[in-house]
């Protein structure tokens, strides 16, 4: 099948975002209209007069994609047209600046499927902290330093916020699990009303990992339980991706430059323990481990 996001776009080699978009569009099909906010996906795919989009696409502003999609969906409803309406947005526009518009779209119950490709910082402007940045992450506005381990705050729990809006379908996904991601997109489409899917999408520039390991990094996030894969249907936990061998968080952290300081600074070990506790809490909360399984404690 011809990719609905054409090759030749300007995203970095190793960027997860175009892969996420193509997986979403493979599942949604060509009968889809996409709104994206200003950000990496927009500036790498639509330098006028070129466009990589083979579906109808619109960008208005940074913080209003959910509202723009609301309007598209309302117009289609009025005309009796039946197309999928998707927002595909980064974490900055989703968890921070666009929160009001998203809350409104959820609240009004528009049949809009919102996919957040989460690379855990403002990558388009140069790796600044967003409210999706995990704790202890070094970004350009929360740099590690002599008296700082990086971002001091926890990651905002956007899927829980979506569930609190009674969004009928809420899920997390990962670029490393394409079958799972496509299935979740199809399921989101099958349930009328808004949907929210937050996809882990490593950023080679902002996370600083070895070229060619994007998918590996994303898989480690899942296998360490730092990125639990789950879905909520009508407010109930309806499924999780179980982990056969739970990896220690060091395996994930040490592969990325944004956590390098944790292995070099005095007290870094304590911070790694805090992150391990977060992973353990995810494993417990979502029941990610098979009964009787034990966590793998060594690096490999």
């Amino acid at each position: 099948m011809e990719k609905l996001l054409a090759p030749g776009h300007r995203a970095c080699a190793g960027c997860a975002m175009p892969t996420v978009i193509n997986l979403v569009l493979e599942a949604a099909g060509p009968n889809t209209i996409v709104a994206t906010p200003t950000g990496c996906s927009e500036v790498t795919t639509t330098p006028y007069p070129e466009s990589a989009w083979r579906v109808p696409w619109i960008n208005s502003l940074f913080e209003n994609a959910a509202a723009v999609a609301s309007g598209i969906e309302s117009a289609l409803k009025h005309f009796g047209k039946n197309h999928n309406v998707f927002v595909i947005a980064g974490d900055g526009s989703t968890l921070d600046i666009g929160m009001g518009c998203i809350s409104g779209m959820f609240d009004r119950g528009h049949n809009v499927k919102y996919v957040c490709y989460d690379n855990e910082a403002y990558m388009n402007t140069g790796v600044q902290r967003s409210s999706s940045t995990p704790p202890c992450t070094s970004t350009t506005t929360t740099p590690s330093g002599k008296v700082s381990f990086g971002n001091p705050r926890p990651k905002k729990d956007m899927p829980a916020i979506a569930v609190a809006h009674r969004v009928p379908y809420v899920a997390t996904a990962s670029v490393a699990y394409p079958v799972d991601l496509r299935r979740k997109v199809r399921r989101a489409i099958s349930i009328p009303g808004p949907a929210y899917i937050q996809v882990n999408a490593p950023c080679i520039t902002g996370w600083s990992f070895e070229a060619g390991t994007t998918v590996e990094i994303a898989r480690l996030a899942v296998e360490t339980c730092l990125w639990p894969l789950y879905e909520y249907v009508n407010g109930e936990l309806a499924g999780v991706k179980k982990i056969h061998v739970k990896r220690p968080v060091e395996d994930y952290l040490k592969a990325q430059g944004r956590y390098r300081h944790l292995f070099r600074m005095k007290g870094g070990e304590e911070m790694i323990r805090v992150l391990q506790q977060l992973a353990d809490e995810n494993a417990r909360k979502f029941g990610l481990l098979y009964e009787g399984d034990v966590a793998c404690t060594s690096g490999e």
Binding site: P30, N31, T32, I33, A35, E42, V43, T46, P47, Y48, P49, E50, S51, W53, R54, V55, P56, W57, I58, N59, S60, L61, E63, N64, A67, V68, A69, S70, G71, I72, E73, S74, A75, L76, K77, H78, F79, H83, G100, C101, S103, G104, D107, R108
Partner: protein
């Protein structure tokens, strides 16, 4: 408002069709007659009655529109960007802080050439917080790329809606239009109004059939970014559409007069201007007071006339040059002030006259700010000042009208 004879409707018949309604109702009714596909708005005084009436029309099944009760004015205009790009005829209304909150989207909607129509129930901008009428809100948005029409009375504010759609949706224009009406003074007043009907409006306003929409059958990209090698030309095309709108606004006003028998001027209108030595230039509802005042002054032998600005953007430079060429002095009354300079209309008007042989004093008066009444005595003061400027030279280029020195 001048009446233009129309064969099938005599004045008597027309008066029989009139109903006494609230200004907001008249506007909402006019919107209903234009059958918008999507309406999106957020409550803010003094605009709220317009959307309340529209909601009721939808609830009663009289209007088949999607009505979005959005989370902010920012979302209101953003959702209309999406709806308009999907091919919908769109409407919103707002005022003051709401318009300010929309500011970013105003530029975007205009740049994307989406023909959205919005009523602005003009109100002052905070601080200090003030819910009453002036024009600071829409004048502040004059550079956003929207066409701005200012209404003198309720009938004009209502009749401007189908005209606004006809201008905005014209393939040669494709530019959003703001219809500005004075908050409270026009939105909340009850006046006899001739209400439009869907059938009449359909004869005047063709259905909206945009060439470019979001359609999976024919995928198009909306809102691509333009680098320095393209940006200037796209901005030029917007500017050029405004230039074409100068003719379009006139044409549509004439077509409206032919269909409905009502004329408010095209880009501008004039009142007792033919032999006027002193010309007042202004916009909005204060025109009614000024006309009454001019009648009295004329009866006293004073040669005073009026130019009403109906289209503030595009700015009617040529029309103003023509209208003011024989005047001896011009006084601008405007409900805004550019803090750090002077009234915005005063600056625009002086600029329009600068490269012409018309060398006359032009003075300005910010007035009615935050809803202060502009009285007959105020108008007389303006005319006195203008005559003094003509006879003895300009003393002050700008003066805050009815400034309470005791409070300073």
């Amino acid at each position: 408002m001048k009446m233009i004879a129309k064969e099938e409707l005599s004045l008597k018949e027309r008066m029989a069709r009139m109903r006494v309604v609230e200004g907001s109702y008249a506007v909402a009714h006019a919107v209903k007659c234009c059958s918008p596909d999507v309406i999106s708005a957020y409550p803010i005084t003094p605009q709220t009655h317009i959307v309340e009436h529209l909601s009721q029309f939808v609830a009663d099944g009289e209007l088949d529109s999607e009505f979005l009760t959005v989370d902010s004015e920012f979302s209101a205009m953003s959702s209309l960007v999406g709806a308009s790009a999907a091919g919908a005829r769109c409407y919103s209304s707002t005022t003051s802080q709401g318009l300010a909150l929309m500011w970013e989207v105003l530029y975007n909607a205009a740049g994307m050439r989406l023909p959205i129509v919005m009523t602005v129930a003009n109100r002052a901008l905070s601080a200090p917080l003030n819910i009453w009428n002036d024009h600071q809100d829409s004048v502040g948005a004059r550079d956003s790329g929207w066409i701005q029409l200012y209404a003198e009375d309720v009938q004009e504010a209502a009749d401007a809606i189908p005209q606004a759609y006809k201008i905005a949706e014209d393939p040669e224009i494709r530019t959003p239009v703001m219809v500005c009406m004075d908050g409270f003074i026009l939105t909340h007043v009850y006046e006899p109004v001739e209400l439009l009907s869907v059938e009449e409006v359909e004869r005047f306003l063709p259905p909206y059939r945009p060439e470019h929409i979001l359609d999976p059958e024919n995928p198009k990209t909306f809102g691509a970014f333009a680098d320095p090698s393209y940006f200037t030309e796209l901005r030029y095309m917007q500017w050029d559409a405004h230039r074409r709108a100068l003719n379009k606004i006139e044409t549509v006003a004439r077509e409206f007069a032919e269909e409905f028998g009502r004329w408010y001027g095209g880009l501008i209108d004039t009142y007792r201007a033919d032999d006027a030595e002193v010309m007042i230039v202004t916009m909005g509802s204060v025109i009614g007071t000024i006309k009454d005042c001019i009648d009295v002054m004329r009866s006293e032998g004073m040669k005073v006339g009026l130019v009403k600005i109906r289209s503030y953007r595009p700015f009617p430079t040529e029309a103003l040059r023509k209208a003011l060429k024989d005047a001896e002095v011009v006084a601008v009354i405007e409900k805004d002030v550019t803090v750090g300079n002077e009234g915005a209309l005063l600056t625009d008007l002086k600029a329009a006259l600068y490269n012409t042989p018309t060398r006359i004093p032009v003075i300005g008066f910010p007035a009615g700010l935050g809803g202060r009444d502009i009285t007959v005595r105020d108008i007389r003061r303006v005319v006195d000042r203008a005559i003094a400027a003509r006879d003895r030279g300009i003393e002050a280029e700008m003066e805050f009208l009815s400034l309470r020195e005791d409070l300073l």
